[in-house]
């Protein structure tokens, strides 16, 4: 079994290295001299020469990549042009908000998507199923930021129940009540993803219910609810769990927009601002961090999926 784990981890590592090459090349692909890309347009000639030598930009590109990668492994992702501070610390500042947002959103997605998907599957073809499936498809067709803006309009502007923007840190103020700042944003983010998980759960359950062993289970005379619980659910959920990694990636993407709509001080909004400010080191750093996170999560989900399925244990 461990050889399987190592093989998968190895494959992920190779993909990571290849992705890092692309990310490294990012600075060089942006139009303009990389020096000015890194320092900003206002750099003086002395700074330029100093940094060019210090960063080894006069060296062969492969060496540059290795230096960059080496530094990245120790946490040195360069210097932000806008903040004049290490990129990693800039990113870390936004981490709390984004991680909290992502976690709360995932909770909504699972709590809403899976049970409703199950209900729809068990009442297949009925008006309940058709309505639920229709709503799910509708939710998956709605732009996230539109939902967000509407939630702000209704709950913040008209009703005044919830704040419309910002997020004071829980760590600093210690007030868990600040979570209410994340309620609307997390619901916004959760909507389309819950819809997708709902459809996936439903489809997976229907697929499993057509399997031969479910027919055998029914033949035993077990009641329908038991058939669902012991035979259909376990096998159907395996497929759904493996989609969580993909859902997380989608969350990261859409969080960019949601954080912008709700003015949350997270990494997503940081990316957009950095693009508009041409703060390339930060953009590069964020992409690297997120890719690492994404690959790690996919690896964990993949491994746990395999470990849950006894068929694979004895390979």
């Amino acid at each position: 079994m461990w050889s399987f784990v190592l093989k998968r981890a190895g494959a992920t590592f190779v993909t990571l290295v290849a992705a890092s090459v692309l990310i490294f090349a990012f600075i060089h692909l942006v139009p303009g001299d990389p020096i000015y890309v890194l320092l900003g347009d206002t750099a003086t000639p002395e700074q330029v020469d100093l940094v060019r030598h210090k960063l080894g930009l006069d060296e062969p590109i492969v060496l540059q990549y290795l230096q960059w990668a080496g530094k990245a492994l120790t946490g040195d992702l360069g210097q932000s042009i806008f903040f004049q501070a290490p990129v990693l610390s800039v990113i870390a500042d936004g981490a709390e908000t984004s991680l909290l947002l992502a976690t709360i959103t995932m909770v909504w997605v699972v709590l809403i998507g899976v049970p409703i998907g199950m209900v729809a599957a068990m009442r297949q073809g009925s008006w309940v199923d058709q309505t639920l499936s229709g709503i799910a498809m509708l939710m998956a067709s709605v732009p996230t930021f539109w939902v967000g803006l509407y939630l702000i309009l209704i709950f913040a502007a008209w009703l005044g129940w919830l704040p419309s923007s910002g997020y004071p840190s829980i760590f600093e103020s210690g007030g868990l009540g600040n979570l209410r700042y994340l309620l609307l944003p997390s619901l916004t983010l959760a909507a389309p993803n819950a819809a997708l998980i709902l459809r996936l759960t439903r489809a997976s359950m229907l697929d499993v219910s057509r399997e031969d062993y479910v027919r055998t289970a029914r033949a035993k005379g077990i009641r329908p609810r038991q058939v669902v619980r012991r035979h259909i659910l376990r096998n159907a959920l395996l497929a759904v769990v493996s989609a969580f990694g993909f859902t997380f990636a989608a969350l990261i993407s859409e969080a960019v927009v949601t954080e912008t709509v709700f003015a949350l001080p997270g990494i997503g909004r940081l990316v957009v601002q950095s693009i508009l400010r041409r703060d390339y080191p930060v953009i590069q750093g964020i992409i690297l961090v997120i890719v690492v996170l994404y690959l790690a999560i996919n690896l964990i989900v993949d491994l746990s999926y395999r470990l849950l399925d006894p068929r694979v244990e004895l390979e």
Partner: protein, 288 residues
């Protein structure tokens, strides 16, 4: 196309009124895009500060924005951008993804390398990849198409690869190759025709997601330039005024939803038509 085949394509729609509605909406949108100049009551760029931010009324069915521009006309003209983005992204994804997928499946050694490269691309979350490409390429409509297209190129390649692998193992393909047909001939005659249906389904969904992605990019200010009317741009501009002028939020957003929803419905209906045929095709392999 024989009458039978035409009927089999329409069948999933005829049985399901809501899918038919989706198809009708799409046709309507295409017509609106083509005949925008005829259908719009006003010039979408015409400014009239006196009537700025007026709610929907008899003269302006969808109200006006902060510059006094007619919302209805802008919404109609934006359908052109939506159509352009959709067609552009789907074309890009298909024209790059299909050849890569097909050749990777037919030439395994090259295929392994190419698929790994696709894996690398897929390790970037969708919007981030698009954003990164926009930064490198610069902001323009064409670059937005390429950026979003790159995201869906990966899924299209994967799907084509999987399908071609399965088709390759089908006995009739083996038979053709054993008879000495050249690979290119096999591809054209046997593989491509069988890819049309599943790719058509895929195209519908990609078209839908492209709308949402493009709207997000526009909203962030990184998509179509602000002087070109698009639903995403309209929403971005409406942000400051949503409390005073909620209709500016409603109509462009509704159009995005309608378009994406219709495409999803159409894609679903096409997929249901496709499914039994596919099961039939693979069922013959399962029976010993």
């Amino acid at each position: 196309m024989t009458r039978d085949r035409l009927h089999s394509w329409l069948a999933p729609f005829l049985g399901r009124p809501i899918a038919l509605l989706g198809l009708a909406i799409l046709v309507g949108m295409i017509l609106a895009a083509i005949f925008a100049s005829v259908l719009s009551p006003y010039d979408p760029r015409a400014i009239d500060p006196i009537i700025r931010l007026s709610p929907p009324n008899a003269a302006h069915w969808f109200g006006t924005d902060q510059f006094g521009r007619d919302t209805l006309s802008r919404v109609i003209y934006s359908s052109r951008m939506a159509l352009l983005i959709g067609v552009g992204v789907v074309s890009f994804a298909l024209l790059t993804g299909v050849p890569i997928g097909v050749f990777s499946a037919l030439f395994p050694r090259l295929g392994h390398v190419l698929m790994r490269m696709v894996d690398v691309l897929m390790s970037f979350p969708a919007l981030l990849l698009a954003l990164g490409l926009i930064v490198v390429l610069g902001q323009s409509v064409a670059n937005a198409i390429i950026a979003i297209g790159a995201v869906y190129l990966t899924t299209t390649t994967r799907i084509t690869y999987g399908l071609t692998l399965r088709l390759r193992a089908e006995t009739y393909v083996e038979a053709a190759r054993s008879m000495g047909s050249g690979t290119a001939w096999v591809v054209v005659k046997h593989v491509l025709p069988n890819l049309i249906s599943p790719l058509l389904v895929q195209a519908s969904f990609v078209f839908a997601f492209a709308q949402l992605s493009a709207a997000s990019l526009d909203f962030l200010g990184l998509g179509a330039p602000p002087d070109i009317p698009s639903w995403g741009n309209m929403l971005a501009e409406s942000r400051t005024f949503i409390t005073r002028a909620p209709w500016l939020l409603f109509f462009p957003g509704m159009m995005i939803v309608l378009t994406a929803f219709s495409l999803n419905l159409v894609g679903d209906a096409l997929r249901d038509r496709l499914d039994p045929r596919f099961q039939e095709m693979f069922a013959s392999r399962r029976r010993r």
